[in-house]
């Protein structure tokens, strides 16, 4: 009795054994792909190319937008005054390499008038921005069955605060 009679596997053609070996490697690669993609989002969270698909996973009940105008009526960049929106449906900063500029304007939060006034006055003082500025805030809130929109307009001077239209 020779060796091949003892072990039938050795009687298999070379191509069949190589085929089985390659199948095993392919299976390991398939399993690796599945396991990595199942675990990586849970372990690492948002780490491209892995993702937890976080877009629109929050539940806002309101938001607002800010427009700022100088005394000549020229619209200014809200980012200059820290009133820009850092939100595109994704949680701000998640999975992004650059930290956004600080802002008072978080999506879903609507801060009160006095906080906005103080904030803008502080920026005006720090950046030597001549006043007065007009701030137009559009506040959109959920309602049944449609959204409700309120527009407020405030005038902010560098030294003193003066209400224009409540």
């Amino acid at each position: 009795m020779n060796r091949s009679e003892k072990n039938p596997e050795l009687e298999l053609p070379v191509s069949a054994r190589r085929n089985g070996h390659r199948k095993l490697i392919e299976l390991l690669a398939i399993a690796a792909f599945v396991v990595v993609n199942l675990l990586a989002p849970i372990v690492f969270g948002e780490l491209y190319p892995f993702t937890v698909s976080p877009m629109f996973s929050d539940q806002p009940s309101q938001y607002c937008t800010y427009q700022i105008f100088d005394s000549a009526g020229q619209e200014l960049d809200p980012e200059q005054f820290g009133l820009h929106l850092v939100y595109d449906g994704n949680p701000p900063g998640l999975g992004m390499g650059i930290v956004p500029k600080p802002t008072l304007h978080a999506f879903g939060d609507v801060v009160d008038e006095s906080t906005v006034r103080q904030h803008v006055q502080q920026v005006m003082k720090q950046s030597n921005v001549p006043g007065p500025l007009t701030i137009k805030r559009t506040h959109v809130a959920g309602g049944e069955p449609r959204l409700k929109t309120t527009v407020d307009e405030w005038t902010v001077a560098p030294s003193k605060v003066e209400a224009k239209t409540p």
């Binding site: 191509s15 390659r22 650059i98």
Partner: protein, 298 residues
């Protein structure tokens, strides 16, 4: 292992090759897209698998241009099935690096290329493991008739698409619970980001109760997407649900760039496989390229 033999059933490569060309077209679109570099300090949290690279490299415009060129060249080589599987893996590396460089240099970004990236990985795996059959088929002019497209390529694509969308649903549930789909949040997003003139946006803004039904429906479809891997009927069901969802998304959030994901969902989860005549047989290896003779030249 015999229980998993179905993964190795094979079909002619028409569907797979079409998918590769589609993915490479997306890669070229990415390579040609302009990039803006946001100013600001780097985040303490890693954003991509390339976050370990020094900032001097990540923020270097010349590196970006090199990767862009590398992606274009390798994608062209892969499309022509030249220098495989090296062109395939080079394309995957350049694509991943290309989008990573964008994410590393921005404060905001959407998840529009994760699916393309992972499907490129899967198809690079296909070309890697079947390189001998593919090369042999090209040389002998039998590439299109050889059974060299394994079922696992298709199955992994369905798995990734299902898991990607299920994760979106699970993340929403984890953040807000089933009440996520209250209609109001969707109305707010449509009002802020959407194309308000579109008929669907008008419908959603009209009544939050109707929007809540649509929003909750989307959540259910997203969560159940992973079941597409279990049966072709479930795959088509999930496919039609997701395509309905994408029609809503693309018709409202026009500029968000989810077109790539929508096309790939249609390709794999709708009956496009039948349209392309994708038919898997239990084939061990094609007669034109027996493994005993083709594993020696590697």
């Amino acid at each position: 292992m015999s229980k998993l033999d179905w993964l190795f059933d094979r079909a002619t490569p028409r569907f797979g090759q079409m998918t590769v060309w589609l993915l490479l077209l997306f890669a070229v679109v990415l390579a040609l897209s302009p990039i803006e570099f946001d100013a600001g300090p780097r985040s303490e949290h890693p954003a991509t698998v390339f976050s370990w690279l020094p900032a001097s490299l990540i923020q270097n415009q010349a590196i970006f241009t090199c990767v862009r060129a590398g992606l274009m060249i390798s994608a062209a080589l892969w499309a022509l099935r030249i220098w495989i599987p090296f062109s395939c893996w080079t394309t995957v590396a350049c694509f991943t690096l290309m989008w990573s460089l964008r994410m590393e240099n921005l404060t905001n970004g959407a998840h529009i290329f994760n699916v393309t990236n992972m499907l490129l990985v899967i198809h690079a795996m296909w070309f890697h493991f079947y390189r001998h059959e593919i090369r042999s088929g090209i040389q002998e002019g039998t590439f299109w008739t050889d059974k060299n497209y394994p079922r696992w390529v298709f199955w992994l694509c369905v798995f990734y698409l299902g898991w990607f969308h299920s994760l979106a649903g699970f993340t929403k549930l984890a953040c807000c619970g089933p009440a996520w789909g209250n209609g109001t949040s969707m109305q707010l997003w449509v009002n802020l980001f959407g194309w308000k003139a579109s008929p669907l946006a008008q419908v959603m803004l009209f009544d939050s109760r109707l929007t809540a039904v649509l929003q909750t429906g989307a959540l259910v479809i997203e969560c159940l997407s992973i079941v597409a891997i279990f049966h072709w009927a479930l795959r088509y069901l999930v496919g039609f649900g997701l395509i309905g969802f994408y029609i809503g998304v693309l018709g409202t959030f026009v500029t968000f760039g989810f077109h790539f994901n929508a096309i790939l969902v249609a390709m794999f989860l709708l009956p496009c496989d039948r349209l392309f005549g994708l038919n898997f047989d239990q084939t061990e290896s094609p007669p034109s390229a027996p493994l005993s003779t083709i594993t020696t030249d590697d």
